[in-house]
């Protein structure tokens, strides 16, 4: 079914506000811009025209959606069009690998992290990957030690408790930074929750959508929606510390697969972790009174997909509740990584150009530590600025502990 049945481009007035706010259009003239590839060209896609060539430059960062005064689902048009295009045009292996990061992570399961990392990050492998289209300069994250992942997944059984929360790690935390997941679990426990890390969830599917593998994403969406339904019926909130996973699970299934009834029906049971803790504080279930002040200032970057969630800069708001903590909001649009966009050859330089105002702001803040809720943002922030970067909740745990 064509996208036309659910989304139509009629609210677009061609005003160009999205063009002015698009970080990719700012970084490269090769992208015709969100208005053109999105709602404007949609009228020609409905006429049966083939795709607009510059669409490949869209990074799905969603600043078009955030800036649109008309509520036009610009990025949804672009992603659905990319999916349509990819149905008839084979995608490079590179895109398959980057899109299926979750699956790749599963495949590396039996091997110890040091071995995988040695295999992945040695210069020879990087040259091979470069030839495949993964830029050799790209800051590929390292797999985490197996014991950390084991600790995260030790909680697969449903605990018997009054207050239970389910934690959805998402691929990044799962494979690269399980410690962030452990920090979130620790905070949930401080708030009196027993935590389960369900085994049946898969990758949220957003990397697949960005890579043009909509059918695979749909499979994941179906699996995850069934799992979400299970937890929603049990009255157990599902918490994720990845803003992109939160966006996908809570909102995007319904937008991307409007023909699939029931997908996204239980999206409201998914909570971005920082927003969840803010609500616990409001309800008096968590107190930051005993948190000690951090010694040094920190800079903060709000991930685009967190801003797209429409719940605010939650990690920033949360840490600013700790007396004496100084967090400087860099307030720059996008770090440029957009999941795996910035890893790709031909996109790496664009990603770095997109992120450069952020890197500059991080350095100018003179803060020795930076914060962001998104895992790949943190990778790019470290890469672009040389400044370490952590999840706000990891910092909060250390202030409370």
């Amino acid at each position: 079914m064509k996208a036309s049945s659910m989304h139509n481009p009629d609210a677009c007035t061609a005003c160009t506000i999205c063009v002015a706010h698009c970080p990719v259009a700012e970084a490269t003239l090769k992208f015709r811009g969100p208005k053109f590839t999105g709602p404007a060209y949609e009228r020609f896609r409905l006429l049966g025209f083939g795709d607009e060539a510059s669409l490949e430059y869209c990074s799905n960062c969603k600043n078009c959606d955030i800036s649109c005064p008309s509520g036009v689902p610009v990025s949804t048009f672009n992603m659905l069009a990319r999916a349509e295009y990819c149905k008839t045009h084979p995608q490079p292996l590179r895109d398959w690998i980057l899109g299926h990061a979750g699956l790749m992570g599963t495949m590396t399961g039996p091997f110890p992290a040091w071995m995988i990392n040695l295999g992945m990050n040695n210069p020879l492998t990087r040259l091979v990957m470069d030839a495949m289209g993964i830029d050799k300069r790209a800051p590929l994250p390292s797999f985490a030690p197996r014991q950390e992942r084991k600790a995260l997944h030790a909680r697969s059984a449903l605990p018997k408790a009054d207050k239970v929360a389910a934690f959805f790690p998402g691929c990044f935390i799962n494979y690269y930074e399980p410690q962030v997941g452990l920090d979130v679990i620790r905070l949930l426990e401080m708030a009196g929750y027993a935590v389960v890390v369900p085994e049946n969830f898969t990758c949220c599917g957003l990397p697949l959508v960005a890579g043009g593998f909509a059918d695979d994403a749909l499979d994941y969406a179906r699996t995850n929606s069934m799992e979400l339904a299970r937890w929603a019926r049990a009255g157990i909130p599902v918490i994720t510390a990845c803003p992109s996973c939160a966006l996908m699970l809570s909102r995007e299934y319904a937008d991307l697969f409007p023909a699939e009834e029931g997908l996204g029906r239980f999206g409201s049971s998914v909570h971005e972790a920082c927003a969840f803790f803010l609500s616990l504080i409001e309800k008096g279930e968590l107190s930051l009174r005993n948190a000690r002040a951090a010694a040094t200032p920190m800079s903060y970057h709000a991930p685009c997909h967190l801003r797209a969630l429409g719940q605010g800069r939650t990690g920033l708001d949360l840490l600013r509740l700790v007396p004496g903590v100084q967090v400087i909001d860099t307030d720059e649009k996008c770090c440029g990584i957009s999941g795996s966009y910035g890893f790709k050859k031909g996109k790496y330089d664009i990603g770095m150009a997109v992120g450069s105002p952020l890197f500059r702001a991080m350095k100018e803040s003179n803060a020795p530590l930076s914060l962001s809720e998104c895992g790949t943002c943190r990778v790019q922030m470290r890469h672009g600025s040389g400044i370490p970067s952590r999840h706000p909740l990891s910092v909060l745990v250390s202030l409370l502990g």
Binding site: L29, K30, L46, D317
Partner: protein, 1013 residues
């Protein structure tokens, strides 16, 4: 004196079909048309190439003609016909007994009608009503009337014929009972011409009676008016008919990028009765729901009407009159050598032409048979030409260009080969390239943008000319092609024509588009207004001062500005009091446009715990970035002190409510913020407005501007140069010059226009078309500054003052302008350009830089859907995300959600309401009674018949009524919400576009609310 064998009068489908037919038979023929080709009924229909199924029951003869001609046109008119197929759909509202009758009739007429399984129907046309009872497939198709008519003329020209447009027949000459020729008036050149002939064919459709009358002959044509709607997108892939006896509103035709829906049928006494009404639009929508239940959610681009030429010797009217055509040889009425042909349908135009020509040729002794059914109207372009075109146009553009251009494709291709910049897309909504545009513009038949529009679809898409009107006029001006008109006349005429079709549907998204149009052409470019007050200072003796001297003096700040308020100092981080509910706020501001950001900043700088919630980035990025206070009052430019002029405004004008002290305070606030950011806003008008030259070549009044926009040196300069950049399609240096040259204060100045080569690469490289924003981003880099400095020194004419588009960097940094002036030794003035707006982004940069230093909590991409209100106070606001809502509490609320454009106010056909609290907004409409003082009115009462003209459209000042504290009030003046203030365009009582007061009101109300909350 010109002589031709046959004169054909009427440039619609029939007339041009006759012209082609005659020429193919070797008869010399000339067509004359009073307007443009296809400007009458032949373009004012639904564009349906009938299969005949619609007429099978009521008029089997017409149906048989249709099915035959349908096949012929699919064969010969490839570039005009889209073989969509058509469906007949039986809805629950339709009489099922008609279905078998219709099926039998189709069979009898030889029209294949095959059932479509309902499951398949649902899958193929998901927008169609799910309760369809039966669906049949017929060979309907879509046909482009404009294109078919033009292609017929192109074909005729290949056989030696010609067509004269804008050429009205004044007289038909007769001699001894025989028509011998005509006298025509050339409407554009003004001259008269006599043309002699052997025969006259009157093929003027609805006008046939009027033309025959010139020869003293009666032809009884009853024009029948049909109104249609054009929708913004294609919500059906095929023609959809309702399976019932033909009546109003039962045909949907997908047409290129749009969908056309019609029609109505109302007898009229005027052939040119083509103004659609809102009643017709609303009635059509109501009917259309039976087929497309969501039709009211689809945006209507425009309504249009045409008149069917129903031949009515017995005075039948409407749908009772036959759709068949007639050929009347006036010999029966005593005049030989002249026939009239009228009635009939677009689908059978070729057959009408064939029969008419058979009749006329027999009389002329011509024995050549008709060949129009065998030969394609436009042959496919040669493979060589297609290859050349492929290299020039993007894939989608190629297909469109080949179909649109017909025989003119070669011209367009040659144009783009000669100058690669002609590949730029002039009309982004309909993908019209500069090459196509110029190829058509150069033709003799083109003498307005509307003429070019009918050939190319320029301005017929989403924005309805908002962006391409100015751009196209610039392109024409660069080519010296403005047909003796000034640039303003060219694009205003075009936009007025668009307005004609928009006015009856001024609600919803189309009203939002109109607000954008008023923002660009009214508020930013002042295309409606004067060149400035008459008292503009003439060049004085201060001429020729070196730049260095002037720079040394520094900009003159308005003496009236107060120093920035003491509260403007940066704040320490917030202190959280123990036990305080941490998630509630002192102030929540909704909306992050100019007024909302100002309000949030004013509040947080006073130590208030502030949250800012917004959906969308606000209109700053498309606004002018200058602080316009009050340029016009009482319909005239404000000549002296605008603060003085405010006293004469209506009592409910936001400026009157606030008072001038409050406004001056707000101006001080923004000046201080700008200074902090390294940008400078000053009042350069010595106590009066400052008039800024614009990219449209107009002058626009403002109050605070950056030094880079200060027009002082153009007012004083003896000579100035306007500098454009190749590929920057929204800025034409020649157009600016032509516009300014017509301003009295610049008459006699020495001016020159120069276009610099683009620094951003060639169009062959597949880069997007350049905007001012792209260039400004380049100027953010040292290489960019280097480029412009060198280019201005080397290429710009040796003028003391240089006007350039606003490209001097996106950051609020006044030093770049100063450095450039210094380096080039010239005064440089930046002109505001159409969106995206560089100067607007600088203002946004100032506000963001200030906001970044505050602890304001920011919620983006959230729509506030409703509020909890108790005892006349707002308790909480609720935002929607996914399926759930979030609740935010505060003591005070500031609503800066904007007007119609930003959806702070939403208008339907019947009423308008404020978006969050549902407050009534007075606005004329169908049932405006609910909560408003307007009793009742038509949608047309919302606006004036002319879009431009300097008068206030009634809808323009619609908004929330507030008291002097900006709190919403009822009609009786009672405060409705005690802790809610409205700011910016959400407030009524002023017309930002006409007054040039938008940014001033946004600033003043935002600052007031933020500092009182």
């Amino acid at each position: 004196m010109r002589h031709t064998q046959v004169i054909v009068i009427g440039g619609g489908a029939t007339g041009t079909g006759i012209l082609r037919d005659l020429c193919m038979r070797g008869v010399s023929a000339l067509l004359v048309e009073q307007g443009d080709l296809a400007s009458g009924t032949s373009s004012r229909f639904h564009g349906l190439l009938h299969s005949g199924a619609r007429y099978a029951v009521s008029d089997p003869d017409a149906a048989r003609e249709c099915i035959t001609e349908n096949a012929v046109l699919k064969r010969i008119g490839g570039y005009c016909v889209e073989e969509t197929e058509g469906w007949f759909v039986l809805t629950p509202e339709d009489d099922p007994a008609f279905e078998p009758v219709w099926l039998k009739a189709c069979r009898d007429c030889g029209i294949p009608a095959t059932p479509v399984p309902l499951g398949e129907a649902k899958r193929r046309e998901p927008n169609l009503h799910a309760d369809a009872r039966a669906v049949y497939r017929v060979p309907d198709a879509a046909v482009d009337g404009f294109r078919l008519v033009w292609h017929n003329v192109m074909s005729a020209r290949r056989y030696g014929g010609d067509a004269l447009t804008y050429c009205r027949v004044e007289k038909i000459h007769t001699e001894n009972g025989r028509a011998t020729g005509i006298t025509v008036q050339h409407l554009r050149g003004g001259e008269r011409e006599e043309i002699t002939c052997d025969f006259i064919i009157n093929a003027t459709g609805s006008w046939a009676g009027n033309v025959a009358q010139l020869a003293g002959i009666d032809v009884n044509v009853a024009p029948d008016r049909g109104t249609l709607l054009a929708f913004n997108h294609r919500f059906t892939e095929r023609v959809i008919n309702r399976l019932r006896r033909p009546t109003d509103g039962d045909i949907f035709v997908p047409h290129g990028s749009i969908t056309i829906f019609g029609t109505t049928s109302v007898p009229t006494d005027r052939a040119d009765d083509t103004t659609p009404t809102s009643d017709e639009v609303l009635a059509l929508l109501q009917t259309g729901k039976a087929l497309f239940p969501k039709i009211e959610e689809y945006r209507i681009l425009r309504a249009f009407a045409g008149t069917r030429p129903l031949y009515s010797p017995h005075h039948d009217t409407g749908r009772a009159a036959t759709r068949n055509f007639v050929i009347i040889d006036h010999a029966e009425q005593g005049l030989s050598g002249m026939v009239s042909v009228t009635g009939g349908k677009f689908t059978s135009y070729r057959l009408m032409a064939e029969k008419t020509c058979d009749h006329v040729c027999a009389l002329l002794g011509v024995t050549e048979p008709c060949r129009t059914a065998e030969e394609s109207i436009i042959p496919a372009p040669s493979p060589a030409l297609l290859d050349r075109a492929k290299r020039l146009f993007p894939a989608a553009g190629l297909e469109l260009a080949v179909a649109r251009m017909g025989d003119d494709l070669e011209n367009a291709v040659t144009g783009a080969e000669k100058d690669p910049w002609k590949r730029l897309i002039l009309c982004e909504c309909e993908l019209v390239t500069m090459a196509e545009f110029e190829a058509v513009a150069r033709e003799q038949s083109s003498s307005s943008l509307n003429d070019i529009r009918r050939r190319t679809r320029l301005g017929m898409g989403t924005c309805q000319g908002n962006f391409c009107a100015l751009r196209a006029t610039g392109a024409l001006t660069e080519q010296n092609l403005t047909w003796g008109q000034g640039p303003r006349e060219v694009f205003r005429q075009f936009l007025e024509e668009r307005w004609h079709g928009i006015r009856p549907l001024l609600w919803g998204n189309q009203l939002r588009e109109v607000e954008l149009e008023r923002g660009i052409y009214g508020a930013s470019l002042n295309v409606d207004g004067e060149c400035g007050p008459v008292s503009c200072a003439p060049p004085d003796d201060g001429l020729g001062k070196s730049v260095g001297e002037n720079l040394g003096e520094g900009p003159v700040a308005a003496p009236s500005l107060p120093s920035p308020p003491a509260a403007a100092a940066p704040l320490p981080p917030p202190v959280i009091t123990e036990g305080e509910e941490p998630c509630s706020y002192d102030v929540i501001v909704v909306g992050a446009g100019f007024s909302g950001l100002t309000a949030a900043l004013a509040a947080v700088r006073r130590g208030k715990k502030t949250m800012l919630i917004n959906r969308g980035g606000g209109a700053i990025a498309i606004g002018g970035g200058t602080i316009d206070l009050l340029g016009y009052a009482q319909g005239a430019p404000v000549a002296g002190d605008p603060f003085g002029a405010m006293q004469a405004l209506d009592a409910d004008h936001p400026y009157r409510l606030l008072g001038t002290d409050s406004i001056r305070e707000a101006l001080g606030f923004i000046t201080a913020l700008a200074d902090e950011a390294g940008y400078s806003y000053r009042a350069y008008g010595n106590g009066a407005n400052v008039w800024l030259p614009t990219a449209a070549g107009t002058m626009k009044p403002s109050w605070l501007t950056s030094p880079g926009m200060n027009p002082e040196h153009i007012l004083r300069a003896k000579s100035f140069g306007v500098v454009g950049i190749t590929g920057m399609k929204d800025f034409s240096a020649r157009m600016v010059m032509a516009g300014l040259a017509s301003c009295p204060q610049f008459s006699g100045r020495d001016m020159a226009a120069v276009t610099l080569p683009s620094p951003l690469g060639q169009p062959e490289s597949g880069l997007r078309d350049t905007t001012a924003l792209d260039l400004a981003r380049f100027l953010d880099t040292p290489e960019g500054v280097e480029w412009l400095t060198r280019a201005l020194i080397k290429e710009a004419p040796g003028k003391e003052t240089i006007l350039i588009p606003s490209i001097l960097g996106t950051r609020p940094d006044s030093s770049l302008h100063a450095r450039l002036e210094e380096a080039t030794g010239r005064h440089i003035i930046e002109l505001h350009c159409p969106p995206p707006s560089v100067t607007g982004l600088r203002l946004l940069g100032i506000l963001r830089a200030a906001l970044r230093r505050t602890p304001v909590s920011r919620i983006e991409n959230a729509t506030v859907t409703h509020a909890t209100v108790a005892d006349g106070r707002c308790v909480a606001l609720h935002t929607a995300q996914g399926g759930e809502t979030t609740r935010y509490t505060a003591r005070e609320f500031i609503i800066a959600t904007g007007g119609f454009f930003s959806e702070g106010i939403w208008a339907g056909p019947e009423e308008a309401r404020e978006a969050i609290f549902g407050l009534p907004v007075a606005m004329p409409g169908k049932n405006a009674g609910a909560g408003t003082h307007e009793a009742s009115g038509q949608v047309e009462e919302r606006s004036l018949p002319r879009f431009f003209g300097g008068s206030r459209h009634p809808f323009a000042a619609a908004g929330v009524a507030v008291d002097s504290s900006l709190r919403p009030v009822s009609l009786a003046g009672e405060v409705l919400l005690h802790n809610v203030r409205f700011v910016g365009r959400t407030i009524g009582g002023y017309d930002y576009a006409l007054e040039k007061s938008g940014s001033g009101v946004a600033l003043a109300t935002g600052y007031y609310a933020g500092s009182r909350a």
